[in-house]
Symmetry: C2
Subunit: 353 residues, 2 copies
Amino acid sequence: MAQVAAGLVGLETPCVLIDMDRVEANIARAQAQFDRWGIAFRPHVKTHKLPELARLQLAAGANGLAVQKISEAEVFAAAGFDDLMLCTTLMSPGKIARARALAVGRRFALVADSGAAVAALSGDGAPLRVLVECDTGGGRCGVQSPGEAADLAAMIDAAPGLIFAGLMTYPAAGGTRAVQDFMTEARRQVLARVGHCDIISSGGTPSLDQASGAPVVTEYRAGTYIYNDRSLLERGACRLEDCALMVLATVLSRPTPRRVVLDAGSKILTSDLMGLQGHGFLPAYPKAQITGLSEEHGVVDLGQDAGLPQVGDKVLVIPNHACPVSNLVDRVTLHRAGVVVGGLDVAARGTVI
Amino acid sequence: MAQVAAGLVGLETPCVLIDMDRVEANIARAQAQFDRWGIAFRPHVKTHKLPELARLQLAAGANGLAVQKISEAEVFAAAGFDDLMLCTTLMSPGKIARARALAVGRRFALVADSGAAVAALSGDGAPLRVLVECDTGGGRCGVQSPGEAADLAAMIDAAPGLIFAGLMTYPAAGGTRAVQDFMTEARRQVLARVGHCDIISSGGTPSLDQASGAPVVTEYRAGTYIYNDRSLLERGACRLEDCALMVLATVLSRPTPRRVVLDAGSKILTSDLMGLQGHGFLPAYPKAQITGLSEEHGVVDLGQDAGLPQVGDKVLVIPNHACPVSNLVDRVTLHRAGVVVGGLDVAARGTVI
């Protein structure tokens, strides 16, 4: 689908297109891998925010869903999903009360990485399942050592209204070995202190293909794999034909032979660089570079390609990072091989709290 | 407001806060400058997307509003604003029909920079006022020379259903002299060819204080000045006490003495770098750097500051770029000196088309 299919060329732009054939293939391929490895798979819905796609992921064999905000959890709970892991801790009494409400009648877990968080989460009402978040090299949240993990597991185990549910990490890309080493030792110490350690959860699409390299992991979370994006493509973590999300844009201007300006800027492609040069990949113009974004315009340097596109032409862009793109639109357009087959409201968009 | 005021500390986070005292001061200061210079001022509403703030801008003396999308124009037209300039061209028949509808009963203009765009815009119905967009060094859209500007002005003047309304540019930051030179010559050639050239419109908050350096300009557009942001602060284009938009965030984790993790990531602060290092400024922790953003987390390196903040504390962040932040939330919270005075739905949020 390098050139814009006839069935898509009439759409108003900018427009987020989802190739459902590719979505289904991506879901099936990842799930088959985890089934083969005997690792439970928990898709992260922050990427698509669409209950309709989450249903496909569960139908393929996923274990439950991962969410990143309490509001996302609420949207998916309201849509009938009954196994949710919130991959962040909560500190506010209001959000913790909402978490307790979600813990009634469904399987719900969240994470903590400090005594302060455990103290905040502890309380009356439906018990909350809590995993200890571990920093295995990702450099974001998480306790810094297996010993700290065991200390916090014991604290959760002893805290009123909390159930210790296991260990969780968001590893560095390529950090599979570090996950195996950290989690093996953390599990050993946790078992010695608490006597149980049900879930060991790792995640991330960039390292998905290497997930079996950390057999201590019982459950894996990934979001972007359902759409893929330029960051995964350039790292060799997916193929061009796996890229299911593209932005359709119109050429508004060609002020010089080499420069083309699209009606897609940072308010649709986002400014996420993910370590790359440029702001997206144009499959029909592989030498072109999106050199700059303003809010509603994308400036493309065609390089030596002095042929198409002309003013008024439509082009497809694979964004650097798919996840925040979904978050910017109220609706996405679904197609199969260039034929529009529907549209979906992005149910959990804009739920920032 | 470096420390979080008692009246704000209880808000759920992440939360976009607008300091109305600062908004009013920013509006008054900019308008007074343009009044003194005798240049009409046309605030750009892409920054706030709020009819309520646009009313304050008009009440202060603004000439009309600038918008960046046809959908933004429609939202502000529906809210009663009767002088709108759309600072982009349109190529789709659907959007052009919507523009024609907006041209009935109000003053409405848009821009073009190619014969293809003029041909697309020309047609039956209410005449459309069209300015020629000129590239005076910004490197985005726009004709490349005064001669091309005059050619296109003549084409617009002759096209059925179009009225040539003047010249427009979005200059490079610091490009005031280039605007003066380009526009003086373009105006001369346009007058020779077409006989009139009513509006010469320039814009941009970074060069706002230098706007009088291009006296050929009759009208100036700026958006960010109403809020300001870290990119303007670091360039010396505003003071800390002019920053009216901040994001309130909660410390979710402090995994190491130097590292703090906030519940504000790229889905609220955006990844816009604007040429800077890091992803925002923490007024209460001026040595701290937001070194990395994931979607829902911001990683802060406190540097040598090993004191506050602790897990659970609230912090304020001035984002690198204010405009796309408004676009990410459905509602903003208004305050005066730390006391909440209301909230506003972001009327034109999510209108990507």
